[in-house]
């Protein structure tokens, strides 16, 4: 059902920035810090999306996903590995036996500039290869021109092509310019069938930021109040340190709360943050600041 | 046995770094006795061109630094210069100044920086207006920096004159490319070291040493420079600058004064000269 885009919430950027500043000045220490770090770790979609990806690269990444650090006991694994459709099969095989999901980008990621037919086929291929989750991109050009029905229909069509796979809809907030546009795009994506709304492809700057994430969480909140249905959220790109990841969790905690604080409802699209989180966990255990040399890079 | 000291190399100051001139050329500065003080970089038009690109890039972010922060940065420049007072006094003496005059010049330069630091968050209140127009509109006029400014610094009172033209330009949010005094260029480059240590972002102030006759036409004709300041009395130069500036309607500012110690040489009007006035309207009826 197409959403009512009139009377949609509008946002004042200065005010949003002030709220974000309050989230960022929270001081997370001791056991609540460890709790937060482990939670963040469990929410990571470990990602490789490069033109130069190969079978070997993906296999090594999957091994890292299953074995993040040999010395830390009782840590969760990441939520998923995120790759291009051509490597879904490889990832599926490499992750066999673990609970880690395989997410695939699709619909001519990252630009989305091609025919609907190609996008459908791209999606179907990934699903056939075994993808548990599909991360699609919206048509930003159409959105910015005001063709909201087009954007809505496209998402609904891809949702159908996903079959059992979960659909994450990437808004590419860095191209949407304003917070009000982010809200509008979120609304369209949610009503068109998104299971998750996601900030960015990570291929342009800015990728995820706290203000756009905040607006997307607000959209999810209002949808829940209207329908009782929970939609997930994934910021991607730019979350490079454990500190930043914790700030996002503070925001999630204080905006959506307990129901969303798990990896069925919140994911972090990142790669280098994994090692930073591991370093912080070891530091918490030993009291010593760590060196990257002791944490495997894959 | 006396310790052999290490002589300083004087380079240019562009983009927060100290490069040599891309032309590799130099000119000699001698003391009164005719002995070498230093080989200065003889900056080329390409150095100037590069500096303009860098100054333009730095201008938008410098402009958006808050007035309070700009004031604190200028105060910091004063702090650092105060700490290096002796170095500057010595350099001025080397260039031929008397000890008494050198000391006075450096002290006034420091105080002038503090003076302009104090204007950073006030000149806007002083020069802006809310205008009582007859229609139902809220109408206000405020100042905005012109942008990138070329400055030909005073030939004499080389430190004080330099500070007196740089401070009001940058406190107003402009970025500058300055051609130092040709015959007394030492303190200009040493001052660049002070700027570099004072939280002034790279590219906000760029300092070149070289030949006035060679560089003036480029500084006056560059199409991406918004204003030019010339300190001096040479009518030929003034005419040349005025004519070349007309190519992009550059704002021209001429200071013919030669006694920069005078109190009249510091005022908010020095800031205002490098500013544009913007007037904005907004309806007030619902």
């Amino acid at each position: 059902m197409f959403p009512n885009l009139n009377n949609l919430s509008v946002y004042d950027t200065t005010g949003v920035d002030e709220r974000i500043a309050r989230f960022c000045s929270r001081s997370i220490k001791a056991s609540s810090k460890i709790e937060g770090l482990k939670l963040a770790l469990s929410m990571i979609d470990l990602t490789t999306l490069e033109g130069k990806d190969t079978k070997g690269k993906v296999q090594q990444l999957c091994y890292k996903a299953m074995h993040p650090h040999k010395l830390l006991k009782n840590i969760p694994t990441v939520a998923a590995v995120c790759v291009y459709p051509s490597y879904v099969g490889v990832a599926k095989k490499a992750l066999d036996g673990s609970s880690i999901k395989v997410a695939s980008v699709a619909t001519a990621f990252p630009s989305g500039q091609t025919s609907l037919e190609v996008k459908i086929n791209d999606t179907k291929f990934a699903v056939d290869q075994g993808a548990d989750e599909i991360d699609m991109v919206i048509s930003r050009g159409e959105f910015l021109m005001g063709n909201y029905q087009f954007v809505f229909d496209e998402i609904a069509t891809i949702k159908e092509a996903c079959g059992k796979a979960h659909l994450k809809v990437i808004l590419e907030t860095g191209e949407l310019e304003t917070l009000d546009n982010v809200r509008k795009a979120s609304e369209i994506a949610i009503y068109a069938g998104a299971d998750f709304i996601k900030t960015s492809t990570g291929k342009i700057k800015p990728a995820a930021t706290m203000p756009v994430t905040y607006v997307m969480l607000d959209a999810i909140k209002d949808y829940y109040l209207k329908t009782g249905k929970m939609i997930g959220m994934k910021p991607a790109g730019g979350i490079s340190t454990a500190k930043i990841a914790l700030q996002y969790l503070v925001m999630l905690n204080e905006v959506l709360g307990e129901k969303w604080m798990n990896n069925s409802c919140f994911r972090i699209g990142a790669s280098s943050v994994l090692n930073d989180i591991l370093m912080q966990l070891v530091k918490a255990e030993t009291g010593m600041y760590q060196s990257p040399n002791y944490f495997s890079k894959d | 046995m006396n310790r052999l000291d290490i002589h300083k190399t004087y380079k240019l100051y562009i983009g927060g770094k100290f490069p040599r001139t891309e032309s590799g050329r130099y000119y000699v500065v001698n003391n009164k006795k005719g002995n070498l003080i230093a080989n200065m970089c003889l900056a080329s038009r390409k150095d100037f061109r590069n500096a303009v690109v860098i100054a333009r890039k730095a201008q938008t972010s410098w402009e958006s630094v808050s007035a309070l922060n700009k004031g604190q940065i200028l105060y910091r420049i004063a702090e650092i210069l105060e700490g290096r007072k002796e170095q500057f006094v010595t350099e001025l003496i080397t260039e031929g100044e008397t000890k008494k005059n050198a000391q006075k010049e450096v002290e006034i330069a420091i105080d002038r920086l503090v003076y302009y630091a104090g204007w950073s968050d006030k000149y806007q209140q002083f020069f802006s207006t809310v205008n009582p127009v007859s229609s139902s509109h809220f109408n206000f006029s405020n100042l905005e920096p012109v942008g990138v400014v070329s400055i030909i610094a005073p030939e004499n009172q080389s430190l004080l004159g330099l500070v007196s033209v740089i401070a009001p330009a940058i406190v107003g949010g402009n970025t500058v490319i300055v051609l130092a005094s040709e015959n007394k260029p030492l303190t200009a480059i040493s001052f660049a070291e002070v700027l570099n240590s004072s939280d002034v972002p790279g590219g906000v102030v760029n300092i070149l040493t070289g030949n006035k006759n060679e560089l003036t036409s480029h500084m006056a004709s560059h199409m991406d420079v918004n204003a030019i300041v010339y300190c001096g009395k040479d009518e030929k130069i003034i005419k040349e600058i005025s004519e070349l500036a007309s190519n992009n309607v550059k704002r021209t500012i001429f200071y013919k004064k030669s006694d920069w110690e005078n109190e009249l040489c510091e005022s908010p009007y020095f800031i205002e000269k490098n500013q544009e006035v913007k007037t904005t309207w907004h309806p007030t009826k619902i």
């Binding site: 004042d12 810090k33 909140k221 | 104090g118 002083f126």
Partner: protein, 488 residues
Amino acid sequence: MQKKENNTVFKASWTYDEAPESIDHIQLNEIYNLYIDGEFVKPAKGVYFDTFNPANNEKIASIAEASDEDVDLAVKAARKAFTSWSKLPGKVRGKYIYRIARLIQERSREFAVIESLDGGKPIRESRDIDIPLVANHFFYYAGWADKLEYAFPNRTAKPLGVVGQIIPWNFPLLMAAWKLAPALATGNTVVLKPAETTSLTALKLAEIIHESGLPKGVVNIVTGAGKTGATIVNHPDVNKIAFTGSTGVGKYIQKATAATNKRLTLELGGKGANIIFEDAAIDQAVEGIINAIFFNQGHVCCAGSRLFIQESVADLVIQKLKNRMETLIVGNPLDKNTDIGAINSKKQLQKIEKYIEIGINEGGDIYQSKCKLPKNGNWCAPTLFLNVSQSHRIVQEEIFGPVLAVQTFRTIEEVIEKANNTPYGLSAGVWTEKGSKIFHLTQKLKAGVIWGNTFNKFDAASPFGGYKESGFGREGGLHGLKPYVKFD
């Protein structure tokens, strides 16, 4: 769909551990004396009073009580210092004030900790807002000291002489900065009395004044309560009184200085209207409401303590407000995660509780957040009173605590009338995304400070002060110089 009122549907699950600010680096004495004529001196009558940490009601230090004799000494010292201080070139005065600003920055964390310890405000507020603003004020006015000929067209500004300044307990060091900076920049000398529950940061400031080399007698700090303040007000050799505090005391001071030659500025109470229109950015407006009345425990003269919501969005705003209130952490002021600290004193807490009782008896619907309050100390949960009207006492009278009175309105003319319908006139807030509406409201609201799509914003360059019974005179900006000068 049936909207069940459930303020815990978005309950936060992750609780943050204690994040205590370290306090082992601060220097605090057990006894503080008066700062007169450049040195700390014992009070003439040898009387001291205690200052307490409102978070646990434990004593922090003993503070000297200035008697009439001490006040007289202070005024004499200020008078003596005035002769040379007023004749110093503005540049030199400015340089002293710059030094003070820099020294405050160097010791900023210590000041923030002591402010929170003594007054009860969260360390995050004192660290991120109060202390930076303090330095900001000294920086700003230092710059005016040698530029006064530009401040008043066609007039030569001269200092008044000895000024007596009496400041409150809600922003102790910041109020000291608001008073001292313009007075010194314009060439006056000062006798300052901090509030008796929050004297410590003013006394630490005396240490900085000492370190800056400021000539002795230029600033004198005499601690004490109402009696000390009255002595200053009535002292015949004081040329001007600047007072920030309650309207009641302000009126007393205005009467006491009537028919004297004393100049006077007053910054008094308020009952600010915070107005939310249906076309506001609602989420930010809710944050603005929180900011307006709950931060600093509502101990803010310009607090937005009367909320007006356009009826069409009232339910939505109130629901969001209640949800947001549940995420506010009331606790130890020195915990970095605390949003709302301790009420400044037992006396103030009793006053707030009295008003809450009045509100309930008057028939207002009370809502308080479900936060856990600590055991010892003075605490009050964020409180709303819904379905109240202009006739309720809790809507008319200043409570000075985290208590918000909520009304609805229908038209613009109605809300303007109601917002102005008060003897106060300090502040107001307007929330709408329509520009012309903002200008229309700001032109019609009778208040000295009007915030459009924001609230409780302060800057050294921005003049602050009230209309009507909220006082007269402005602090901050170019306008803040005027109260401290006279013209030939």
